[in-house]
Amino acid sequence: MSLAEETSATSMALKNRNLLLGGALTLVFLGAALISFLWVPYDVTQMDIANKIKGPSAAHWLGTDHYGRDILAMIMVGARTSIAVAVVAVGIGMLVGVPLGLWAAARRGSLLDEVIMRGNDLVFAFPSLVIAVMITAAFGPSATNAIIAIGIFNIPVFARITRSGALTLWSRDFILAARVAGKGAARISFEHILPNVLNLLIVQGTIQFSLGILAEAGLSYVGLGAQPPTPSWGRMLADSQTFISFAPHMALFPGLAILLTVLGLNLMGDGLRDIFDPKLRRGRT
């Protein structure tokens, strides 16, 4: 076994570890969100002012917040908010972006392609957070508007990656064969191109998902995400800020929840990329 092969074996194992660790972290938070539908240690809408700002204890594993609510329960239910917002935002991005990308690739070089791609650039040119602030200022802050604000910026991401993936495929032989067989561009796009860019989309989806969680946290942090009493990680952090000097547990746990979830998703995305991406695999051998 040569040195190069040995290092590549190590790194392969390492990449698998990425996937494993990432998957495990993601599952923990997904699990917490699902369990919260059936059971939570305390009702998150119930306040207990007399027991506010208590550190971790047997009764409250992660302590209580400034209204005496259980932080563990808040994090579990907050996971629901984060995941829901991110999933729907990614969904919007895929539902609109992927067909746009396929369409642009099918009509590559045409005016339509140009318009779609310039449109994408235009969306990218807008400072995303500013637009999110404007959307919520116009329509009021809510989880729905946070989803829309995040979702809009997912559209060009998916449109671009789909188009570039599809462009390389259009010159391949099997597509040529399908064209010769008389299939239309739309049919080819959905029957042959889409399945072949799916890997790309899954990897990108995982990354956008983690970005969505971060974006939701940021929007909630400035008060533009889900509204109380719906718990959300970002708002928990915002609420904890003035307490940080004497009750750091209030800031620590929601922050860790965001950090670990995003980390898990990123690791998983990396792991998936390594498995799917043929170029990297070639580069390793």
Partner: protein, 491 residues
């Protein structure tokens, strides 16, 4: 001659000594004023900077809310209460060097009440029939009806005296008669005032004062702790006060504002047009939990729309004690379908946002389900307060002094329409006998409490955090102001 020089040198040396670092003061405030003209905007943030410091009125408020002589050293009131003759302080100059004279008073008052006036408190001047300059040091104001509160009204920041020579640029370069001149404005950050060496009265003790604008409660705490500001007026995070209190480097001053903090209910529309529902809400609210949870124990419970430190206050909190069972019974009696879904609109201050969350949790316990909507001031003013009155519940602190009369207006956002109450308020306005006045005010307060016009929560306290050694600050806030004229560092 020689001794004179050395005395001067000594004075310079003293000034250059350790005191030098402390001749200025940095004051933290939450809101930055939009501009510097207190006579054309309601923004309390403007008064917070310029009132008493840069601009002065005929009369002025003291820390205890008393009305004291300002640019008018004295006045005579005619028998019928219709004519006020103000005797102005002589030798006063505006900061640009022009003389302050009776014509400036005429100009200021006419401008405030004129046709195209943009004064936010135009109602203050509504009773004025005419203003004339008798001589450079005397002004005669004639009212259309006697007004027991006229001198009080003239003490407002909206009634300060401005000069026609400098009115053009007042928004960016305010020129007043106060103990401080306007210095520099770094927008988004700070405003600096300079000591006015030519001040007509007792000169200010600070060489300069910088107002630094920090809207975020966390940043306010951090700035205070890091020593970036010397004083923070209306400190926005009550949860941090015990820390400051325990720290020998800081003093915490706790005083009153005129802010009745209420859970306003839209009396003009369903379901809160029904008095039983309003009464149910009043009993569903646990004031102590709200004060503990939102204000960390600071705040005096109120039972009506009146400041508890006012001698005419009547304690009516018993009418709306915490009794969730009674609340449920009242809701049943009212025949509303439970859960009752309503909208709760909350403006930005933390008393409203936090208080709202707690109130919502308490209301849910009796079957009322408020949907919280956090809004910016802009939307709150537009949709809740001014035009549409499109709200069910909101939380707001009414910080104007003696504002019980505003509820007499059926078009006010509270939508409370009770002619009997309006009649009492009207009588108060023209009554000059203090005892009868007090009696009438008591009646008015009781009417509001018995009609459960709103959920009366607490009187907003004023928390000022100051570095040890800062003296002469106002403890209370009878009007929105940061009067720095007597503030100094302990020697």
């Amino acid at each position: 001659m020689k001794s004179k020089i050395s005395a001067a040198a000594l004075a310079v040396a003293l000034a250059a000594g350790p005191a030098l670092a402390q001749d200025g003061l940095t004051v933290g405030l939450q809101l930055e004023p939009p501009h510097m003209d207190p006579t054309s905007a309601a923004a309390g943030a403007i008064d917070q900077v310029v009132y008493a410091n840069v601009f002065e009125g005929l009369t002025r408020f003291g820390s205890d809310g008393s009305v004291n002589p300002g640019l008018a050293s004295s006045w005579d009131i005619s028998e019928d209460g219709l004519t006020y003759t103000f005797h102005l302080v002589e030798g006063v100059k505006f900061h640009d060097g022009t003389d302050f004279e009776a014509t400036d008073v005429v100009f200021s008052l006419d401008r405030a009440r004129g046709e195209d006036s943009v004064n936010a408190q135009k109602a203050l001047f509504a009773g004025i029939e005419s203003v004339e300059a008798v001589d450079p040091a005397t002004v005669k104001v004639t009212l259309s009806a006697p007004d027991g509160l006229f001198l009080f009204k003239m003490a407002w920041g909206d009634a300060v005296i401005v000069a026609p020579e400098s009115i053009e640029d007042i928004k960016t370069a305010p020129v007043g008669t106060g103990a401080f001149t306007f210095g520099n404005w770094v927008q988004g950050d700070s405003i600096t005032l300079q000591n006015n060496a030519d001040y007509w009265g007792e000169p200010a003790m600070l060489d300069s004062a910088t107002f630094k604008f920090i809207s975020d409660p966390t940043a306010a705490f951090a700035a205070m702790m890091a020593g970036d500001v010397d004083v923070f007026v209306a400190f926005p995070a009550p949860e941090n006060l015990p820390q400051f209190d325990a720290d020998p480097r800081y003093n915490v001053l706790i005083g009153n504002t005129e802010g009745e903090t209420i859970l306003a209910m839209n009396n003009a529309r369903e379901p809160f047009s029904n008095k039983l529902v309003r009464e149910a809400v009043a009993h569903a609210i646990n004031r102590q939990d709200i004060i503990d949870g939102a204000m960390f124990g600071y705040g005096t419970p109120i039972g009506t729309f009146f400041a508890p430190h006012n001698p005419d206050y009547v304690d009516l909190t018993g009418l709306s004690d915490y009794d969730p069972e009674k609340a449920k019974a009242l809701l049943e009696e009212a025949g509303v379908a439970l859960p009752l879904k309503v909208k709760m609109t909350l403006p930005p201050p933390s008393y409203a946002r936090r208080g709202g969350e707690i109130v919502a949790a308490q209301l849910r316990a009796v079957g009322i389900e408020p949907e919280i909507e956090n809004v910016e001031w802009a939307q709150w003013l537009e949709n809740t307060f001014r035009n549409a009155h499109d709200y069910d519940l909101t939380i707001i602190s009414h910080t104007e002094p003696m504002d019980i009369s505003s509820l007499a207006n059926p078009d006010y956002y509270t939508g409370y329409d009770n002619p009997a109450f309006a009649e009492v308020i009207e009588k108060v306005g023209v009554e000059s006998d203090p005892e009868v006045r007090s009696e009438l005010l008591g009646q008015a307060q009781t009417m509001l409490a018995e009609d459960y016009v709103a959920g009366f929560l607490f009187e907003l306290p004023l928390h000022t955090v100051a570095k040890t050694g800062v003296e002469g600050l106002w403890v209370n806030m009878p009007t929105q102001a940061t009067d720095l004229t007597a503030v100094h560092w302990a020697k």
